[in-house]
Symmetry: D3
């Protein structure tokens, strides 16, 4: 069974899928809407790439990552919300680092930091964007200043 | 056996392939020519993406979809027409909606509309581009006006 | 007065304009059609770039080069064929090399070669794409072979 | 004097500016945040393009349109929120169609439609995205169905 | 007179130019070479963007920033090294922050940090890439670790 | 067993892998550095594509081709040098033409030409970029002139 929420420890997941659709007959407005809808509906990631299609058409390639369990749901959504008549997909493997979360205290409040751990070693520390953004907006300071503060605490 | 022309009813095709080549030593002029040649020779779809390659080279990634039966033909064409020495490919699955065609009568003539059907329900209706284009050119009217007329008939 | 067809000798043209429109509510299908229409109607060049617009919209930027005399015609066409409500533009300068044309004889027929001349020196020689394409299609040979033949003659 | 909110009638505005910055030392996360901030702070439009920079760097080009009155405010924001040490800009002209708004009643509620008018003629009608989106979310129907309904009413 | 090396204090430079060329008949290999050549020859910046050109050609747009004094030199180089027969350009304004340089001592050696100053206030601090890269290569450590060390010193 | 250096004769290699990572929280500066590092460490090819990610983020997709034997090494490097917590990959097949090398003598020195051979027939001849570049720099001549000379010799 594939878990909807991948576990936080380091692991290799062989049950992921990439889905792809080419669009040349839909507007960017609808595709912007679709991206959010797919993420809220369980896609692990969704991203667009610009492509050059036949007849001089600037097209858009949708790529979506999801678990095997979500394949059908994603297909339903894409067929219903877009103009496509064909969706392609193939399996892939994902190697995920362990994820741990810690709190960092800044002068404006607490920020969660996500740590990536590989073979027991902390290899990444990244302040959660939404936490930093809330502070930047609340105190009307540049977002990069908030990140700098968090890094300062992390390294102190 | 893979059919050259996929059937019109809803189905899942496990015999498709995606082919890819990176180019940094060929001009856009030749790639524009190649796209049409590959489509006319049986590719289901061909599209280009801009990529950043080593040594500051703005490169182009060719992606091509074809059936297993057409793999060799496509490889031959790409090797003969381009500068590549390596072509990569992998299988993928395509879920296709049922396709039906109906005629819509506008004040300027008939336009074919392609319908997509999923589990018996019409989920898409798209006027055929070439039909609309012919009318726009013949009567010297904006192409979007032709599409609007067809949609009006479809919804009437 | 701006000439519709720029002269073939080396010159600096201060009467060119670049026009730009951002699109997020029109399909690639219509934009592919528009590109040809604008070129046939007198644009010196038309090209699209993929842009990232607000609300996660993958948009398309139209850029068009034309003479001052064609500004109004181009604006009319873009307003009529697309969904935009605003077209922006600004003047620019173009330095053009002198252009000369010569014929090259290959085993399959004649090909025109465009030469670029700067301060009296031939700096470029480029076989005309349409001539080469016709030969490649007529004799069913790779397009790059035709170019190679022309270059061989040019350098012989 | 430049008006902050351009008038709704057809007009040519010679007081617009385009601002540009190249980024190779800032993350996409911060740029996504910046886009919204600039739009909320008075930019007429903001968009990003992928560029190939020196040393194999995939960079991002920020382009921003604003009135002369907003030039300084935009510069301040970009300098404070990003890593750039240089901002370039130049004036351009914008030709805007007249804008009118009308209400369209659908089975799910009212949708505003923006009309574009050129020399007294309606050349565009586009349903307001946010209105359609609210209906799609409230009634859990595909967004394209909402647009279809509005177009049906418009053409009826 | 335009200075070849812009001054380090905050200033507005009205003597900059942007140069642009569209390419569809040259390879990425040659364009990668050209970028370095132009930068070494005095261009302030050079970058490429992928564009969609007529006849399905994936093209490349060269953009180059230089001072008025370098215009002719840049044109010469582009005409000689590429296939273009036309180069366009237009003036723009650049607002530059003041630049100051300071040294930061890490456990692996000294790193120069460039500071950006606006109205007397330090708004940016960015470790020089080449300094950090040399350390990463010499001591075989991840480049991001070197940056982290520099930031730690900066904030300490 | 997979060979680190693929053989020079025509063959089909079923032991290749494509690795992919999406980035939205790292700068282009670091990605430019990473590309070279990965190529020097045994990747067969590395390239970046611009993608549109959630929250209006202009992101970068890393794609890397390597043999099965290099999978772990590449994963280690990417985890250590970047901010990612997940790397995905899948196998693909590569059809490689035979490669042969010959020397061509120009007035400025010898240039290696790589030939591609398919079913015994020479289908490509491409002058080695680094050889041509060295000549262009040493003799201060346009790089395209060097290529022209080599082609002239090849066709003579």
């Amino acid at each position: 069974m594939t878990l909807k929420h991948p576990p936080n420890n380091e692991h290799i997941d062989h049950e992921m899928f990439k889905m792809e659709v080419n669009f040349d007959d839909i507007s960017g407005e609808l595709l912007g809407y679709l991206m959010n809808l797919l993420i809220e509906s369980g896609a692990n990631d969704v991203y667009y790439t610009s492509i050059h299609m036949k007849k001089n058409r600037p097209g858009i390639l949708l790529q979506l990552l999801c678990s095997r369990d979500n394949l059908d749901k994603m297909k339903q959504l894409i067929f219903k919300e877009t103009t496509t008549l064909g969706i392609r997909y193939y399996p892939l493997t994902v190697h995920r680092a362990e994820r741990r979360f810690r709190e960092v205290i800044t002068e404006w409040g607490t920020v969660t930091v996500k740590e990536g751990i590989l073979e027991g070693q902390v290899i990444q520390s990244s302040p959660e964007f939404e936490d930093c953004k809330k502070i930047a907006e609340k105190y009307n300071i540049p977002l990069k200043k908030v990140y700098e503060q968090v890094w300062k605490q992390l390294m102190g």
